[in-house]
Symmetry: C2
Subunit: 335 residues, 2 copies
DNA sequence: TTGTAAGCGTTATCAT
DNA sequence: ATGATAACGCTTACAA
């Protein structure tokens, strides 16, 4: 259709210079109201759309943010899918596009691309199970960034995460309060803060009820389904009557193991997870879990990133409040 | 670190002009081998990365493709997640970035943005259950595009899809050959070609075995989980001994309904789906299904798009060969 | 084979 | 308040 309308066209049609047109369009001061209005209406009538590549080149930054997912991250469905969805939605609400980056094999190369390619001027990075080399690279490159979840204990970058410790304590409390007396757990990688906090929540719930923790039932996983499946086998050999998993994928692996051993859930074994990704009407089973507020997560991430792009370099760590879902993997509360 | 290295830097360091450097970098003819080599090595040593925004502006098109997902598409996990993953992977292999677009509320606006923003010069569009208004918009805007799956009968755009009819006939045949004599089905929306073909496969399998089809057990769904759940209730009321679902989500909804009615799978009810998204070691249950070759799908989509971007406007329809997975929702073959 | 120079669409720095 | 004009980094005729 109609050849692309450029700023020059709008300027000409409005009888002003490109500079003035630009100012008007960008809500910059120093434009007579009448002129501004005229430019604006011409722009909208002509279907003008700024060329972002040009805006970017001209030094004003892009209207595209990057979303950096670990190589294996997208496979870790459905968490990743929800994250992508909500970040995209939130970004869109701010007129920002989302460039998906999944190549994590070589952090350096990837980040350099991001920075130098000039298509992106801010990045939402997800912590992966393995590391967060990316964060260093990004900071070094002076690229505004926000991280999903908490990695190392002190990450010098903005992070947004769900509250982990108390939430975990709450859901573990549910296990203990519905009859479990011998809980096992498969944690995430404990060098990651979020995994550690979830585990601390596990311990805390016991402590509050003065119930001893059986150390032999604490297994450290790495959030991968495969590892979780192996560990579940090991754990179930020791016959716990309940399991708290560091995430829902792990919880599902436990359910799978139980199923294969003919252990009934929740009659013989209760299972609780974290994330809230298997709670809809159709999941089998619906897993009792701490539910991440994904929509809010996306919103806060994008807001945080925008702040960072505007020069706010404070490395605040924001915590969101989760909700809880009591599914079919735990018994109903005893009153 | 090191301030962004530009083409000018590389040129200066190599003792040539920017034009020559550009030619060397882009494998253009007319550069003395020795010079080319020098430029290349300088570029790599200095960590040079072309600024894509600039490349784009200069008229050479972008190195970013769009991936257009329906508004509700990303929720339709895990299919969407796999698609995103594989398209991204394939794109990356060609040095292309992927810009994710999910806003489908207003096609016109979205497409115009895509086209005019100048960040993307090719799009992979997924057919959604609702429509493909996008396709028209895209074509009208002269934007190179490839579509995932087949929508209307004759789509004037390149498409890549899994073979639907014979594959469905095969998996339905498996149901019939393992003892089912009263099959029901919940199809996708039949105004979509892929859904229709899958249904034709269902009919074909019966025909080949001279088994009559019970028309009252054919229900048309819309690929949404919610609708599938409702229809499953309706269908199970009529007591089929097997169900072929238009996709795995639907199959899962059927399993859910069965579970809630105390119907055992596969003893009392066999279920088969399409997509192959619930077949891994951890899914509960592992659903017998036609397995889409997702990796190949991503590859073909990107290849097709690249061809389209290079001027190949032929609207070919490419069919991929799926594999089959026999899971826990069907009985083992009777020998 | 290589260099010069003219854009690409936008924003920003000056003047005016 | 507005308008020239110079960048931004790159590609590409057109010259040499």
């Amino acid at each position: 259709m109609a050849k692309d309308v450029t700023l020059a066209d709008v300027a000409r049609l409005s009888g002003v210079s490109r500079a003035t047109a630009s100012r008007a369009l960008n809500n910059r001061p120093g434009v007579k109201p009448a002129v501004r209005e005229r430019v604006l209406s011409v722009a909208s009538e002509s279907g003008y759309r700024p060329n972002r590549a040009a805006q970017n080149l001209a030094g004003n930054g892009t209207s595209v943010i990057g979303l950096l997912l670990g190589h294996a991250y997208l496979e870790q469905l459905p968490y990743a899918g929800l994250l992508v969805q909500e970040v995209t939605r939130a970004a869109d609400a701010h007129g920002l596009g989302v460039l998906l980056i999944t190549d994590m094999d070589n952090p350096s190369r990837g980040v350099r691309n991001l920075v130098n390619d000039g298509l992106v001027n801010g990045v939402v990075v997800s912590v992966t199970a393995t590391d967060n080399l990316w964060t260093d690279e990004l900071l070094e490159a002076n690229m505004p960034a926000v991280q999903v979840g908490q990695g190392r204990l002190a990450t010098p970058v903005k992070t947004v995460d769900v509250e982990n410790k108390e939430s975990s304590a709450h859901i573990v409390g549910h296990l203990l309060d519905t009859g479990c007396i011998k809980l096992g757990t498969i944690t995430g990688p404990l060098d990651r803060l979020d995994a550690r906090l979830r585990h601390e929540g596990f311990l805390l719930a016991h402590e509050r009820r003065s119930i001893p923790v059986d150390e032999s039932l604490i297994l450290e996983g790495n959030n991968s389904k495969e590892r979780a499946y192996e560990l579940a086998a090991e754990l179930l050999d020791r016959q716990p009557d309940g399991v708290f998993a560091g995430n829902d994928q792990t919880a599902l692996a436990v359910c799978r193991q139980a199923r294969e051993r003919g252990i009934n859930i929740p009659e013989q074994l209760s299972v609780a997870g974290f994330d809230g990704t298997y709670i809809d009407e159709f999941s089998i089973p619906r897993i009792t879990s701490v539910v991440q507020p994904f929509t809010e997560l996306g919103t806060k991430l994008v807001e945080g990133l925008i702040a960072a792009m505007n020069g706010d370099n404070e490395a605040g760590h924001q915590l969101l409040t989760p909700s809880f879902f009591y599914g079919e993997t735990t018994r109903p509360p005893v009153n």
